[in-house]
């Protein structure tokens, strides 16, 4: 990769090589390549219809690629479903967060794979204390110190809910997090919180792809920017070597 420098010695955790995807006659992705290294934050930028969503859906197993290959931790992979991608440690956090608002943080983290314990030595019941404990610890790792572990997540603010969705991903050992517009629906203080959340994840060695329209957020948190335009790679820049004007030019093709 041309602009990758600080982790040259490392293998990329995720390596997308000349991936193409067409829907009928529309070429949504044309031989797009990008790499992602552990502990790195890559922002995916581009105008509407540039192929950002198609690219992350191809990586996360929603769509199959029509051409090219995706390598994860050095091995060629082909995910048939999002579950398969998740089992490898690629977690996608969509804008709607996919939280059950009526359940606690712990219940959301464990949804679909709840731990059980035996009450009175025989009766299997949900292990709520274990879920609450895991929730508290996981949220603490994200620097969110939550005491109301019995409150449904619907009562929390937007940024906190974002943290819960991220917490669920990291509890299950996601190595690559794909975040779709994580700051879009938030107020300014909450946006700052999410930015610091991403920096925190980066420090833990996780790799992050995040889609954003907000150049301010991108420059605050990303190491590199990959710009797509009309399904093709329009350019790739290190944050330290570019500026917002250049990125906008890449996005609109000026």
């Amino acid at each position: 990769m041309s602009v990758q420098s600080q982790t040259q010695s490392q293998e990329p955790i995720l390596d997308v090589r000349s991936v193409s995807k067409r829907f009928g006659g529309v070429e949504a992705l044309k031989e797009v390549s990008m790499a992602l290294y552990p502990g790195e934050v890559v922002a995916l930028a581009g105008d509407n219809g540039a192929g950002k969503s198609t690219l992350i859906k191809t990586i996360s197993g929603v769509h199959g690629a029509d051409g090219g290959e995706i390598r994860f931790a050095g091995e060629a992979v082909r995910f048939a479903t999002p579950e398969a991608a998740r089992a490898h440690g690629i977690e996608t956090i969509y804008q709607d967060l996919a939280l059950a608002d009526n359940l606690t943080i712990g219940a959301n983290i464990f949804l679909g794979r709840e731990p059980m314990r035996r009450a009175f030595g025989f009766l299997p019941v949900l292990d709520r204390p274990a879920m609450a404990k895991a929730a508290k610890e996981t949220m603490a790792r994200l620097d969110f110190h939550v005491n109301r572990l019995d409150a449904p997540v619907g009562r929390f603010s937007g940024g906190q809910r974002q943290a819960v969705a991220i917490g669920r991903a990291i509890y299950w050992n996601a190595r690559v997090l794909i975040m779709d517009e994580p700051t879009a629906a938030l107020g300014v203080p909450e946006q700052r919180k999410v930015v610091s959340l991403i920096q925190n994840l980066k420090a833990q060695g996780r790799a992050i792809i995040f889609i954003s329209h907000n150049l301010q957020d991108i420059f605050a948190v990303a190491d590199r920017i990959v710009v797509l335009r009309r399904g093709m790679l329009a350019g790739e820049r290190k944050i330290s070597e570019t500026n917002p004007d250049e990125i906008v030019k890449l996005m609109v093709g000026g």
Binding site: A100, D101, V125, N147, P152, G154
Partner: protein
Amino acid sequence: MSAQTSTESRADPTKSRSRQLILRIAALRAWLFLAILLVFFETWSRISYGQTFLFSSYNAQSIAIFAVAPLLLALGSTFVIISGGIDLSIGFIMGLAAVIAAHATNLAGQSLPPFAAMLVGITAGLVVALGPGFVNGVLISKLKVPPFIGTLGMFGVARGVAFLLAGGTTVPVANSWFASLGNGRVFGFPVVVIITILFVLLMHYLLSQTRFGQHTYAIGANEQAAIRSGINVPRHIRKLYLLSALCAGLGGVLYAARFTAGAAQAGEPLLLDSIAAVVIGGASLFGGSGTILGTVAGALVIAVIQYGLVFINVEPFWQFVAVGVVIIISVLVDQTQRKLGGDR
């Protein structure tokens, strides 16, 4: 607020505390209704008749027996409504089960001793009830028919079949064991009430302590989230409508035992009462909330209104008015609660 992002208005601790209090009271509204009603009837009874209302074991047992049938239907509906669905077919599934149980008990009685014949009748009633429940589940989960329409269709089918099988009349049961199941007592408690209490405990466990219950809440709040968490949502929905039909089937079997007769129209007036019990009990028809204990309180509220108004000699038609008013108040409280709770 405990997290660090406490920058919005919600973070005000005093506001938050009174809000918590209001939410807690709202969650218990069915029990509050029940307490108010009991105090009202108790006072009235003491002033007008000079005797107790609640502390008479005759009254208490009558109310409990009154509450049994709508409560059994409501238990299954609690799960369905929490998942965001509705089951309109339960009233006639109950009637169908009652007719089948009566026929099967009589038929088996020709060759089997009464106790075995009763068991055959109960089993037949419960198994046949699962049929329409299964069809409901397939319609809703596989063919994506809206629950309201799909179960309305089964409402008609079960109704017609039940009346056809009963020959348009009631089917009397001649079986001493069956009669004592419906009318007998153990340690002074009616058997039907004991069975219902055991069933309530089982359903409470299922809803509040198991993955099945947890997934039911999740589907009601956010079906997409449930799917993305790897929950097999269509299969879960099929189980929910089977459970609802099983509860209705049990209601039908106990009805046949209590009146020693199966009747197709057994559950007809109970459908709306049971849904009312669930809603008064704190469930939202939008899905995502509700509890078994709330539903129990809701069923008791309706039973107390119905029995109490007769007890104080009010024209029985006022029951409908009173239950209707309680439902409306309950839904208003639910909406306020949603607003305060910040639930989306």
